[in-house]
Symmetry: none
Subunit: 284 residues, 2 copies
């Protein structure tokens, strides 16, 4: 947007005829709502005729009054997009918790995410990011029964910004084969929350024995895999539900992804462009 309507108004208002200037002033005084009424209404409140309003708008360089209003709306949406919309209170609920159980859960998740990040070691995060971002490393990801979705989620996105990333099938028979070719240049990212899965522990131990760097994303009580992992990132998972929440784990994934992307931005950007082209080519 080259210049906002207010600026235009202030600037050229001086050269306007009296009545039109009055309109401009009203507009500035009640900006921008005054301009979202009908031209007739605006004219009435200012005490001039409708055409005067229209002429003023035309003098500003707009094709029509509708044009002018559209412009105002666009400006407003741009401004409103960020600072407004703050969620109403929300904490107040209290006894209503029963009625709106889902709200309580949402609160809990938000709190979990906060606490999770407050408890993360900045250094550890950095080191994990470096391992995942280093293209000399091959990266493998896997998760448990529920958390495997996270391994998928992260691997799909990580694949976009760098090569050598794969999601391991959680069939034990499958990853046994994969393990064969792994060595100290491999990184294995495992997701494991309670109830911890024995098969994953076996995998982690075997991998560690082969000098594979094992990274673990787990709950606050730490999966036994922590014992063989090079880095551990714990998250809060408790919510008022029968189930645990993996949302904080996902937030960690997203933080890692954001960091890796940022640290390898030049490379990633180029790669993403190439991918776009490939895809576009496939469609044509």
């Amino acid at each position: 947007m080259t210049q906002t309507v207010v600026d235009q108004l202030r600037e050229s208002l001086g050269s306007f005829p009296v009545t039109e200037r009055r309109v401009a002033h009203r507009l500035l005084a009640e900006y921008p709502m005054a301009g979202l009424q009908s031209a007739t209404d605006l004219a009435r409140t200012v005490g001039v005729s409708t055409p005067t309003v229209l002429r003023m708008v035309a003098r500003l360089g707009f094709e029509s009054y509708v044009d002018f209003q559209r412009r105002l709306r666009d400006e407003l949406t741009a401004q409103l997009s960020s600072p407004l919309q703050k969620p109403v209170a929300l904490r107040s609920a209290g006894k209503k918790a029963q009625v709106h159980a889902h709200i309580a859960l949402g609160e809990a998740v938000a709190r979990n995410v906060e606490e999770t990040f407050a408890n993360l070691s900045a250094q550890e995060v950095e080191q994990v990011v470096r391992l995942l971002g280093d293209r000399k490393n091959r990266v493998h990801m896997i998760g448990g029964r529920f958390t495997d979705a996270l391994a998928r989620y992260l691997s799909v996105q990580m694949c976009i910004i760098r090569p050598g990333v794969r999601h391991l099938q959680d069939q034990e028979a499958n990853w046994r084969d994969q393990l064969l070719d792994m060595d100290h240049r491999d990184v294995l990212l495992i997701f494991d929350i309670r109830r911890y899965q024995a098969s994953l522990l076996r995998l982690a131990e075997l991998a560690a024995a082969k000098q594979v760097r094992v990274l673990l994303i787990t709950d606050q009580w730490l999966s036994p895999i922590a014992k063989v992992a090079k880095h551990v990132l714990p998250a809060r998972v408790v919510v008022p539900s029968v189930w645990d929440s993996s949302a904080a784990l996902m937030a960690i994934c997203e933080a890692l992804l954001a960091a890796v992307t940022r640290d390898n931005w030049d490379y990633a950007q180029k790669r993403m462009r190439d991918l776009e082209q490939l895809r576009a080519g496939a469609k044509a």
Copy 2:
């Protein structure tokens, strides 16, 4: 002002008929600008008829559409009067943001989750829960490139507490076949955030045409699927990263799962016990 229009919308939206609800959602998504257009324009962008918009406004208790618009304007002026006019400062952090960028992201995710739940309609959540919990319905889930992990996540867990839940393969050829057997007893839960996937829209349209109840979990700008969906649950996805965050979507999943589990607790508990036994048997 007793109650803002947004509140009214969120509160009563759940008891609205489908098309009117769609209007309400668009209104919430682009609040309040969407309501300052002409009713006809709004109707067009939502894909319903003008009278539907007017009926929705009437249902909210307004005398006329003009009345409604006046109210919106008044609210806006009240809000705009002081605290705005300045484009978001917020950046203040500066270099510290660089060092602990992951913390900033965590904060943003937490905030997103809060706002997401604050903006959900309790009724709509309930209705979705009922649809997903009703064992007479077959339930299908699918997501887009990134969000499909969520579809997987939720389906895996939902499978545990009730039968008839499946995750659709996101290959277009695959779900085309599945669609053949769907009818009014089926529920299709779709995840779709920007950039919205054309294939999912096709799926949703075909399904809706076959009387399948389409549920949509999307971002705050609403996937075009909203036009054919029976229920829409929007989430905040913006974080300080190149990527969008799906964490709030996951929180919604978990809220839904918690509610469905609670509402069918007797059945679910029994089923889970049976599953345990089966698994123990397999191991022995």
